[in-house]
């Protein structure tokens, strides 16, 4: 009988624990809830924490200055697990149960496209972190917007630099999914447009989360390119760079990395970073040297004791752009904020961002630079920074955004 009691006790304890967990918390009446899908676990977790920090900082700034139209902001940050199925599920929960005003994220390109279809159906504005350009073209809708740079802007800017340097023979490597394909497609098509003589004897498409790149690096070396364009993202990029270094690739070719300029990547690579090679970042803590950027970096360091990376900068700007759209609308209303979104301008840490009404993309400059050691910082940074204007880096207006009016 005592064994039975023990069993009953444990069963009771489990049920009680579940019951306690499901007690819901109540929220203050006048809040604007922002749902955030951040990759806190999984392949992209390297940037998930900084994303959350960027969000929290923007929310705090807005609330400290009195909120928007008398409403406080509140961020509900949830894990997207770098996985489409859980991203969609969490997005539904944030919209249907938590009734968020806007949905931010996720970062994984495939997940982002799945989530934006869901947010369109449930009539909630969605700002994916993912940079794949299909978000502004094929899958765009009234509810889909993006403040951060698109792959189109960054990769085309990379093609501009590549063309300037006169590099002819290329190999490319990128993950086999929406964003990875998009990065390389934009780079290569734009380079071909500017320099029809450019050749690409080898294009590698490893799977997302690949751990061993040696077969790809071997083939790459056999193709004898002048330069390689690396579209890998997150932990994949770090793994690839370390392996490429052990094969002596740093000395043999010029390397262009689309994501390699991001602070968390350079910090993780440290002394193994590809010094002297080109990389880009959609936001840089050391450029531009503006009051807005200095204030952002100083406050960020004060709050979290780390430097903001690319995703922190983009997340921070996104929250402020949403606040600005509500101010412009003059009323806290989901649909009216969307009506007011086109044309919103925000003096972000990375410079002015203007929300383009046609394709719902934030217009901004792209930055490419050379990975270098720095006296000022204990980690590698980008120097010799080239600013590519949005006109040069983006499609002309009439070619994009056909879907955004739907």
């Amino acid at each position: 009988m005592s064994a039975f009691r023990k069993k009953a006790f444990f069963a009771g304890a489990i049920i009680l624990a579940i019951g306690l967990l499901s007690v819901s918390t109540s929220f203050a009446a006048k809040t604007i809830k922002i749902g955030v899908l951040s990759p806190l676990t999984g392949l992209y977790s390297i940037v998930g924490k900084r994303t959350s920090q960027g969000i929290n900082m923007a929310v705090k700034e807005i609330n400290d200055s009195g909120g928007v139209l008398g409403h406080k902001f509140e961020a509900l940050i949830r894990d997207s697990e770098t996985n489409p199925a859980s991203s969609v599920r969490t997005a539904r929960r944030l919209i249907l149960r938590d009734k968020v005003f806007a949905l931010l994220g996720p970062l994984h390109g495939g997940a982002a496209i799945a989530v934006l279809q869901e947010s369109k159906k449930l009539k909630t504005m969605n700002f994916p972190w993912a940079a794949t350009e299909e978000i502004n073209t094929k899958f765009c809708s009234r509810y889909t917007w993006r403040v951060g740079s698109s792959a189109q802007q960054t990769s085309r800017a990379g093609a501009v630099i590549a063309h300037r340097l006169g590099l002819k023979k290329w190999a490319t490597i990128s993950s086999d999914f929406s964003y990875g394909r998009s990065v390389v497609r934009q780079f290569w098509n734009y380079l071909k447009e500017r320099d029809p003589g450019a050749q690409r004897p080898y294009a590698a498409w490893p799977k997302l989360g690949e751990n061993d790149y040696s077969a790809y690096i071997n083939k790459m070396q056999k193709a004898k390119p002048d330069a390689i364009y690396v579209g890998l993202f997150g932990a994949d990029l770090i793994k690839f760079m370390k392996q490429a270094r052990s094969f002596g690739m740093y000395e043999k070719v010029k390397i262009f990395t689309d994501f390699g300029g991001n602070h968390v990547v350079l910090k993780a690579l440290g002394d193994q970073a590809p010094f002297g090679h080109w990389a880009s970042s959609r936001y840089l803590h050391n450029y531009p040297v503006s009051a807005a950027n200095k204030r952002f970096v100083d406050n960020f360091r004060k709050a979290y004791n780390v430097y903001p990376d690319m995703t922190a900068g983009e997340a921070y700007s996104t929250v402020h752009v949403i606040a600005e759209s509500i101010r412009r609308a003059g009323v806290v209303d989901k649909e009216k904020a969307i009506d007011a979104m086109g044309g919103v301008a925000f003096n972000s840490p990375e410079g002015w961002i203007i929300m383009r009404p046609s394709d719902h993309q934030g217009w901004q400059s792209s930055f490419w630079g050379v990975i270098s050691k720095s006296k000022k910082y204990p980690f590698p940074v980008l120097s010799n920074i080239q600013v590519i204007s949005p006109v040069e880096g983006s499609h002309p207006d009439e070619n994009t955004g056909q879907g955004c009016r739907k």
Partner: protein, 342 residues
């Protein structure tokens, strides 16, 4: 019945407590009333997902609980059923029934093919081969970009309306309508599964689980029975996959990955694999815990893992299995001499 006296968990308990006629009626009534009780679109969605997961877990239990075959590749049916539904309704003909039949049929064929190889093995070797097969299918789905969309998956899978053309039609776009549609399909399939499990055929499966040699000596073709169980499990899993596909509107190769298979095994163990409705109970618990814990922290698997450890140590029959055992022990006389044990 000397043979079953060594059996720690008798399937006769199916007729006791929670799965008694009263219990089932109450459960069904609860399921029918659920949308009115939760009053929130999100929770209606969660209930829909639980129903689909229940069917999936019960289908796996045909192998684990009934026949004693631990499959680590059951996600393959979820995935193949989902892709079959999506490919048919998106590219060929947008019909709910055709999609579901395609999902079930494709999985029946796949299960037959896989089963021919798998059922000849036992224990760990069986588990490994099912795992290997499912990983092969995963890899195909991942790299066959032109058909499956690769890692990006397939988007915009429709919820075709049901009804008789020309007479009437019901849109399934509303959360409540879709819930009732899923409830109807899942309840019908679970009822079918229950009939099979309690038929003489089902008894043979349990005999195989307890003592395959003895069944062989009686003169029954063990391999063929195992193959049938494999095909039934796969087909039911395929229907669950088809429903999942239209429910989510989006699928990706993750559905086929071995971690997904592990999750289905987890549901089965959590609820109790020696009870007919146990796996369904486990599916509901797993999804409910995930949903609740995710509001507080991202490491929901720790909570599920902790509960699983406690269960294995203290309630090895699973949660529903425990309650059913408890009910049959405390009822006067018990059944089948169950009370004589423990």
């Amino acid at each position: 019945m000397e043979g079953s006296s060594s059996n720690k968990f008798s399937l006769r308990r199916l007729t006791g407590s929670v799965t008694s006629r009263f219990g089932v009626t109450a459960l069904l009534a609860l399921a029918v009333l659920a949308p009115f009780l939760v009053q929130n679109d999100y929770y209606i969605q969660l209930c829909t997902e639980i129903l689909i997961a229940s069917l999936l877990a019960i289908s796996l239990n045909f192998l684990i609980g009934y026949t004693g075959l631990v499959s680590l590749g059951h996600a393959v049916y979820l995935g193949v059923g989902a892709y079959a539904f999506a490919l048919l309704t998106k590219n060929v003909y947008p019909s709910m029934w055709a999609g579901l039949i395609a999902a079930g049929a494709s999985c029946a064929i796949l299960a037959w093919f896989m089963g021919v190889f798998c059922v000849r093995l036992a224990g760990l070797y069986f588990a490994m081969l099912t795992l290997a097969f499912s990983q092969v299918v995963y890899t195909v789905a991942y790299y066959w970009r032109d058909v499956t969309g690769g890692d990006d998956g397939m988007l915009g899978i429709p919820k075709p309306e049901i009804g008789i053309p020309g007479a009437f039609s019901i849109s399934l776009e509303s959360f409540t309508n879709f819930y009732y549609f899923v409830l109807f399909i899942v309840a019908a399939l679970i009822f079918l599964a229950w009939k099979i499990a309690n038929s003489p055929f089902g008894r043979v499966l349990q005999a195989i689980r307890e003592n395959p040699e003895r069944v062989e000596f009686i003169g029954l073709p063990v391999h063929r029975y195992k193959l049938y169980a494999f095909i039934i499990a796969g087909t039911l899993g395929g229907f669950a996959g088809g429903l999942y596909s239209t429910f989510q509107g989006y699928i990706s190769p993750d559905l086929l990955y071995w971690t997904q298979s592990g999750e289905i095994v987890l549901m089965t163990i959590l609820g109790g694999m020696y009870s007919f409705l146990g796996p369904a109970f486990g599916a509901g618990m797993l999804l409910f815990i995930r949903d609740t814990v995710l509001n507080f922290m991202e490491y929901w698997r720790i909570v599920v893992g902790g509960i699983l450890v406690l269960l294995v140590l203290f309630l090895p029959g699973g949660i529903l299995g425990f309650f059913e055992g408890w009910a049959s022990r405390s009822s006067i006389g018990g059944n089948d001499g169950d009370d004589a044990r423990s």
